[in-house]
Amino acid sequence: MEHPVTANKISGLIYWFLTVAIGITQAVFNSYYQILPVTVAFVDGLTFSLVLGILGVALWYVVRYNDPEKSAVIQIIVSHFASAIVFTSLWILSSGIIVKILINDSLYDHYLGSLITERIIGGLLFYALLVSVYYTYVYSQHNQEKQLREAEWRHQIRKTQLSALKSQINPHFLFNTLNSIASLTLTNPEKAHGMVIALSDFMRYSLRKQQDDMVTLEVELRNIGLYLQIEKIRFGNNLVYRFDVEKECNHHLIPNLILQPLFENAIKYGVYETSKPVEIILEARKLPASMELKLINNFDPESVPQKGEGVGLANINDRLLLLYGSTRLLSVVREKTQFLVTMIIPDIAEISH
């Protein structure tokens, strides 16, 4: 922690201004009531106050040494008691020596001696006042640091939450794909080759998700293309897909992997549950201040989902809420043979740190 007097220009200026002001006040007071010659009164007042100021700067180190977070209260009280006595004695002695050298006057000597009690009390009071100011400063600095740390910590939590919400590679998909590859290596090595490469690229993208939070729609769709390409090798003509993207949407930023679970759902409830062809269509449209993404897939109305859907959708909603602060960006419509998900991506992500 920096010294409050030297930390910035303003606090330094105020400190020295007050010091000089105390000196001048004293001088005016002395020349008026004690009938000291004006020059003598000023030399006396300024000397005492400047020495007080210098000692006061040094006092900071006593305060830092007696940190209430590290030492016992009793220890601090005792140490300040001793320090106050040393401080006051040092002030009166050194100031006294200096003024004695500067002013050689017996009348003044008498005056100096008569004021000693007041000066002792004044020194102790100043000590107490300055120490309180210093401790207040230390306390506020600690508080600020604490708040900063807390904010940092909250940001960390939010980041962790986000990464937990992002889609994980589905083990069912992974092992089925590996099985398909095992099969293709025997019957169609060239196709197996392509599938290994597509799977590697897809996994690389999914694994580096910790690093960048936002990607362009183009990049996200390229990755989804890899995923669909793999599923298409597994399901053949039962899976048809099409991307309908307005040109200006390509470079729009979206949270990475936010679309992945939607496509996984479409495949899980569409393709996995039927032996008829399923078409998945993605449409991207630019709106004022946002982009609209629409995912449409048909499904077999006779299929009854085994387990409840919606966990993936709830995760996406949570993620959008954390990133954009709105719960109304995702909507889902289930019609008789068609499932429609609409997602609004605002132009600017309000990612607060």
Binding site: P171, N179, S180, A182, S183, R234, T274, K307
Partner: protein, 248 residues
Amino acid sequence: MNKIKTLIIDDESLARDLLHHYLSKDERIEIIGECSNGFEGVLAIQELNPDLVFLDIQMPKITGFEMLELVPNPPVIIFSTAYDQYAIRAFEANAIDYLLKPYPSERVTAALNKAVEKLMSKTTAPEISKLIETHDEESGMLNRVVVKSGRKIQIIPVESIHYIESQDDFVMIYCSEGHFMKQKTMKFFEQHLDEKQFVRIHRSYLLNLSYISEIQQYEKESWIVLTKQGAKLKVSKTGYANLKEKLK
């Protein structure tokens, strides 16, 4: 010894190809068919009467487990699945064998050896039903019930079940699609249907609250529920207490 008549059921053609490739190297095996979903599987088992079935679990429409519920005397089953923790747990005690995709040819041979041993001793049926039972316990709440009448297989969402009537060692399920027999106990349905929705009103009846039209007192300590479809169901004294509790 005759060859082992084997059926492959898997929705992915590449997975079937791989298994086909492994099995065709084994002299003991004769592949009599391949199916790409559970519906075809049920019919193929009945018509082709295989000794051994390689069965995938996650398939369109109905799962491998649900499929087995519809086959009265299932053959020896070897499960073949990509990833299913619950299934693995269920298998541990009872399975003839299970294969985790992708698996090597040695693994298939080992499973085949076990299957041959079972086929020789001919004591497979109880183990399969035990296996299904174990899976039932693991599977939690039901979302759907798979039934069969004649050659037709139907998937009934639990919401459309009106009530279930117990009859000796099976139950009759009355639903919007008609009524179907199912080889399961009343206790099973009581445990696996949402208790907020389904109430045991009598020793013989489990009723879906959504289909109640009227409750009438019949005698001093017996009542009758009229369903929206017009069926009259007896309510016992404890059943009436249950009903009152749920309708509060």
